[in-house]
């Protein structure tokens, strides 16, 4: 048992107990009353020494009860708690995990882990703040909520009400768990709030007390960057585990939908289910379009069990695909795993299906092969213009290219790139990122980035380029195709232009006679076009930035979050950037274009991160080069004072009964 405020109780006892003794030893000043005879009166007190100030102490039951009562109250004022605990001195930083896994509902009383963490933190702070007037100074507390990015909810403070309010205001997110940024933030705050004079006066003390505050981590232990954490000298972090290590989870690890190329009105959907349990699980699956049930498994789907244990464990997976269904307009496809388990976030996935639409392509320049190929693409309408007219047109109207989804240029002498998506063949545009420095001849292919969307299902080993531009792109540009003398196809951004640059003309190579030419060109157009208004669904992870283009001159631009909040946005250079996204669901980007037509674009956000979906709380945290107290501790200590006060009240009742039963004295 620990006493929070021993001095308060001792001082109180030293005052009131002797006072009680004195009161019992002092003779009561009674009113003299002359009566005819005391014959019928029996003295209720035995000591009748009338002239003495004090009398001997009479140990009556009432005195003993009152003595015991005062001792109990004094003991209650000492703030006893049943726990091996001591009040930290200096500063304390609470790191409260608000990541997706903290929404798992496996804490006592059906609370989520985050609710439990907040309750524990508040209880701990209240415990430190307890003790009343004579209590030692409570530690300064800073609260940092962290998921993918940390935020200081309250800087160092001793104001209990504000701390409690700040902790209660921490909301759940669906982001990953990154602790390192939170610790960096805490260190920065600690260093910033220690005065230079203090640091100069006592560097060691300063480091111990200010730079290295006591850190309390309230988390389930599923921390993605735990391997990157390094504790500084003197830093100590205590971890309070929130959650059950035996909690298992099944969820949707992947979900998608695509319009078919041959018939864009048909949408095909697929999903992958995962199971972390060691036994197979059966779950029902439903697919809804804008809330209407469109597909459901006839019987529960069996998800195979996970294999392996610990770090080598591989979750069981079950892939599902649904028959294509007709969806001509946009819609929200929701996939649900029923019934919900403790971690409901990954039991649902949403997919925003955009309205079927045809890409508008501008072909600038004269290339029969490209012209024939682009016209053959079913999802595109092609407008052709000569390169000289194109140069003239964009010189007079720089925004003209924004009216097309993709601009394909063949051997155009571009001095700059306006906003838009560009597929450029031949002459390099005069932009600094490419660093064009001449020409190369006779190149074979060394390598290509086959995992890029534009290069998929293509074979470039037989390609020979007779003549190409020599370029040395900056490092932020991606080389998709490497020739023997330099990059031949690169991808990157220049201001508001997204560019795929092919450093040669198709007719200067044997490419038009190869299948990779068709595949690449089609996929490049689709890739660039999908960045603006997709023909397929688009999905983001929590923590990502929502970035989308808005037609110039649009008004009333806003984003409606899954919770229904509408946040006004101001486009910058025809683009809005929102985020990092905190929660899963469908985000609606709404605007009114210059023609007064309302535009809505939906972006789905789903949690598919395997680390975050593994909701079994960690048994141990290992932070390298640090002094981690990885034991699971409970922050709530049992306060004894209510019991003592209750016992004192009971004694008071007994004392009252005896007083009235036996007439106030022995």
């Amino acid at each position: 048992m620990t006493l929070l405020t021993p001095f308060f109780g001792v001082i109180t006892a030293l005052i009131v107990v002797p006072l009680l003794l004195l009161l019992y030893m002092l003779k009561l000043r009674r009113e003299r009353r002359d009566i005819s005879s005391t014959l019928l009166w029996t003295s209720r007190t035995q000591d009748l020494r009338a002239n003495s100030l004090l009398q001997r102490l009479r140990l009556s039951p009432l005195f003993l009860l009152q003595f015991l009562l005062l001792l109990m109250l004094a003991a209650a004022l000492m703030g006893p708690i049943l726990k091996e605990w001591s009040r930290p001195s200096g500063r304390v930083v609470f790191f409260i995990d608000q990541s997706a896994s903290m929404q798992t509902r496996d804490a006592p009383d059906a609370r989520t882990r985050l609710e439990e963490a907040k309750r524990l933190a508040i209880a701990q702070v209240e415990l430190w703040q307890g003790g009343g007037l004579f209590a030692a100074s409570p530690p300064e507390v800073m609260v940092i909520a962290f998921a993918q990015e940390p935020s200081v909810r309250i800087p160092y403070s001793t104001n209990l009400a504000r701390i409690r309010e700040a902790i209660n205001a921490i909301e759940a997110t669906d982001q990953l768990t990154l602790l390192a940024p939170a610790m960096s933030l805490a260190r920065a705050f600690s260093e910033a709030q220690s005065s230079p004079q203090e640091a100069e006066a006592s560097p060691q003390m300063n480091q111990a007390n200010n730079f290295a505050p006591t850190m309390q981590l309230l988390s389930d232990g599923n921390i993605s960057d735990i391997a990157e954490l390094v504790l500084r000298n003197g830093e100590v972090i205590s971890w309070t585990r929130c959650g059950d290590p035996n909690t298992i989870n099944q969820g949707i690890s992947a979900a998608g939908a695509e319009r078919r190329n041959d018939d864009p009105s048909l949408v095909g959907a697929f999903m992958t289910l995962r199971n972390d349990a060691q036994t197979a699980a059966k779950r029902e699956v439903q697919v809804r379009n804008n809330g209407t049930l469109i597909a459901s498994a006839s019987e529960p789907i069996t998800i195979p069990p996970a294999t392996g244990k610990g770090d080598t464990r591989v979750s069981g997976a079950q892939k599902l695909s649904f028959a294509p269904f007709t969806l001509e307009n946009s819609g929200v496809l929701s996939m649900n795993l029923l019934p919900e388990d403790a971690f409901a976030t990954d039991d649902h996935a949403v997919i925003a299906i955009q309205e079927q639409q045809t890409l508008r392509i501008l072909l600038a320049g004269n290339d029969p092969a490209l012209e024939s190929l682009l016209n053959s693409l079913s999802f595109a309408t092609v407008q052709q213009i000569s390169s000289s007219d194109f140069i003239k047109r964009i010189s007079s109207d720089a925004t003209w290219t924004e009216s097309f989804d993709v601009v394909v240029c063949v051997d155009c002498e571009l001095q700059s790139l306006t906003a838009g998506r560009w597929l450029i063949f031949g002459k390099p545009p005069a932009i600094s990122n490419l660093n064009a420095y001449g020409q190369q001849t006779r190149q074979a292919i060394r390598a290509w980035k086959s995992d890029h969307k534009t290069m998929a299902q293509s074979q470039f080993s037989d390609l020979v380029v007779d003549r190409s531009a020599a370029i040395a792109p900056t490092s932020d540009w991606l080389a998709l195709l490497e020739g023997s003398k330099g990059p031949l196809i690169v991808s990157g951004r220049d201001n508001n232009a997204t560019v795929i640059y092919v450093a040669f003309l198709p007719l200067d190579s044997n490419w038009p006679f190869q299948r990779s030419f068709v595949n690449f060109t089609a996929q490049a157009v689709e890739f660039l076009g999908a960045l603006g208004s997709a023909v397929t669904s688009e999905s983001l992870e929590p923590g990502a930035m929502l970035r989308t283009r808005i037609a110039r001159g649009s008004s009333n631009v806003s984003i409606q979050t899954p919770s229904g909040d509408r946040i006004a946005q101001t486009p910058t250079d025809g683009e809005i950037v929102f985020g990092p996204i905190r929660n899963v669901g469908v985000y609606k980007v709404e605007s009114v274009d210059p023609l007064g037509k309302k535009k809505t674009r939906m972006v789905a956000v789903n949690l598919t991160n395997l680390a975050e979906c593994n909701v079994a709380a960690a048994n141990q945290l290992n932070i390298p080069a640090g002094d981690l107290q990885s034991t699971v501790i409970g922050l709530t200590a049992l306060s004894i004072w209510p019991l003592l006060v209750s016992a004192a009240l009971c004694l008071l009742i007994v004392e009252w009964f005896l007083y009235h039963r036996y007439g106030g004295s022995s």
Partner: protein, 304 residues
């Protein structure tokens, strides 16, 4: 607590409105008592009264005025008519004048003196031999042998001059009263009877002398209910006679216990008086003593 009223004149003791009522009353003894002088009360002594009692043969020396000449005419023998002689009644009104009587509101000693004056007045107007006495410090100071209405002022002056102090010495005072040559008669002893030494011996001494003893106990309202007129619950009770002290807290338990003791004490007093052939009565000093004299005492048979 004493609330001694200043009694300075006869009217303080005996209000004129009460005098008329008392004029119609007379004392009534339960015993036929022998007086010293002819009075207005029937006695056992045969003599010159108005009520015929018996005949007896004439003996030499008898007063010829009492010879029944009618019988002599019929029987030719001399018989003497015997009459119940009307004698005076000896009335002794004794007051406990100890300090304990000088308490209460109304003051017990004042009430006792008023009752004594009233009873004495009844005795005086009925030509009885009235003796007033105060029992104090083992003595019985007396104002003896008063007779006739004219002596009422003397009786009042004497009563007014009496002070309550010290102890009564009840036993000794009763013996002293009994040993006084007061003849036989009625003795009314007025007091609170809260006597540590007891009262039985004194009452027995008076009753054994053939007196018709009436014990009148006066208790103050505070003695009946200790919480009356008392705001402070923590009190130090001081005995006025022996100065002993008792510290108490007047809670309900203590008061209840006191009332139980008082009830027991009064029951004992009644039983003792019954055993001694002494009439007894307990009154509150706050009683309407005029009504008490005119109605209650008549119902009790002390007055008629």
């Amino acid at each position: 607590m004493s609330s001694h009223t200043k009694l300075t004149k006869l009217e303080d003791l005996l209000q004129p409105s009460l005098v008329a009522a008392l004029d119609r009353l007379d004392l009534m003894s339960q015993k036929m008592l022998q007086g010293r002088m002819q009075g207005e009360r029937r006695s056992r002594r045969r003599g010159q009264g108005m009520d015929f009692a018996d005949f007896r043969p004439y003996a030499a020396g008898d007063d010829l005025r009492f010879v029944d000449w009618n019988i002599y005419g019929r029987l030719d023998r001399l018989f003497l008519k015997m009459f119940l002689e009307e004698e005076d009644l000896g009335l002794v009104v004794a007051i406990d004048a100890s300090a304990s009587m000088d308490t209460g509101d109304p003051n017990k000693f004042d009430v006792a003196r008023r009752i004594a004056m009233a009873l004495g007045y009844v005795g005086l107007v009925n030509q009885h031999r009235v003796t007033l006495a105060v029992l104090q410090e083992g003595r019985a100071d007396r104002l003896s042998s008063l007779r006739g209405r004219r002596r009422a002022a003397d009786a009042a002056s004497w009563l007014i001059s009496q002070k309550a102090f010290g102890t009564s010495g009840f036993d000794s005072a009763c013996r002293a009263l009994a040993s006084a040559r007061l003849g036989r008669g009625m003795v009314i002893v007025i007091g609170d009877y809260l006597l540590r030494e007891g009262y039985e011996s004194g009452l027995r001494c008076l009753a054994s002398r053939g007196w018709d003893v009436f014990a009148l106990q006066i208790l103050s309202p505070e003695e009946m209910d200790p919480r009356k007129n008392n705001q402070n619950l923590d009190v130090r009770l001081v005995d006025l006679e022996n100065k002993s002290e008792v510290e108490i807290t007047l809670n309900s338990t203590v008061v209840r216990e006191h009332q139980r003791r008082l009830e027991t004490f009064n029951t004992t007093l009644r039983e003792t008086c019954l055993r001694l052939g002494v009439r007894q009565m307990t009154i509150d000093s706050a009683v309407d003593y005029q009504k008490f004299l005119v109605e209650t005492l008549r119902k009790q048979g002390l007055l008629k």
